[in-house]
Symmetry: C2
């Protein structure tokens, strides 16, 4: 039996019910630890599940930053330094990654708090997560203020990629399942995807 909800029904839902309903109804998402460096040289991590492919040439990704109604360390650091990293999550890192989304003090590094190891390159100051098999370094490119709710769509240009070489197939596909990469639904439900099939390019 199909249940029908109007906008009024959704707005009348209990607050946490609506949050979980709306956060899961759009389906499976990617899950990344986003690394930034603070002015005081504290490496910061945040957990993001809204990373979106913008284009391959030149390579850009975007993500949603929630409204700036409270201090947002990640946003502050990206604006101040101009760089951030995205590090995909495996099953082995699941609990540490989830814990990194707790509200730690500004001067406490989530790396230390959850037990992950920062990794640096010469190209920019933002920290990577050593334990992640797929690490992306991005330069802030542009941002769009969303009128509907005050959120910000932040877009970065990929300037660096580090990936286990066995995960790069001959035709360029990244072998996510072999890497044990997770997907997330809503804010707390972690999934392990299994490949069903890779389909041919469709023609009418």
């Amino acid at each position: 039996m199909q249940k029908h909800y109007t906008l009024d029904d959704i707005l009348a839902m209990e607050r946490f019910f609506r949050r979980d309903f709306m956060n899961t109804i759009s389906g499976y998402r990617s899950c990344h630890l986003l690394g930034t460096m603070s002015y005081k040289k504290v490496p910061n991590l945040g957990l993001f599940n809204s990373v979106t492919h913008i284009g391959a040439t030149p390579p850009h990704l975007g993500f949603i930053m929630r409204p700036l109604t409270v201090p947002r360390q990640t946003y502050h650091n990206i604006k101040a330094q101009g760089y951030f990293t995205l590090n995909q999550i495996t099953k082995d890192m699941m609990h540490q990654a989830h814990q990194a989304s707790a509200k730690y003090e500004v001067d406490q590094s989530e790396f230390e708090a959850v037990g992950l190891k920062p990794q640096y390159t010469d190209l920019h100051p933002a920290p990577y997560v050593t334990e992640s098999p797929i690490k992306l370094g991005l330069e802030l490119a542009e941002e769009h203020h969303i009128k509907a709710n005050g959120a910000i769509f932040v877009i970065g240009k990929i300037v660096e990629v580090m990936v286990d070489e066995k995960l790069v197939s001959e035709d360029g596909h990244i072998l996510l399942e072999e890497a044990g990469i997770l997907s997330v639904a809503g804010l707390d439900s972690y999934y392990q995807p299994a490949l069903i099939d890779r389909l041919d390019y469709p023609r009418p």
Copy 2:
């Protein structure tokens, strides 16, 4: 062994290798059939893998429309009618959904071409996909032109939701795995996710 790519390395990749590399490296995505109605009353479907949660209150989702370097029926219809639908994909619909992304003529309905059934409500003209267990109706809210590559970030306000009642848990979570909802990586690799765990709200 970790492989290292700079931006120059990525830009020097063979075109299709780079497309697949960049489309898979950001991880798992949702997969939706996007329904619109044309001026000539032809119900249109397109396949999108960039739907992103913007916020729950009021409920908004966004997706990436590729640059308007060729005619884009979906974009044209959304601009003309002001409404679109998002319909999640199950394993049973996988081949039909993938085929809906083929380049059909403007006056041919993808519903007919791939064998899916349109469903309508009184609220707006855009067609839903009857076979989908999670159907969302959206009103065009705003759009953001992405300078990096000319893509458009289209944002809609959810005005209607239809979902199998057995998929709505007591606390509001939508039970994606019970619905057989798929995830996609890149443009052609379909995955069936399995729940590992739902974690508690993290505190420092």
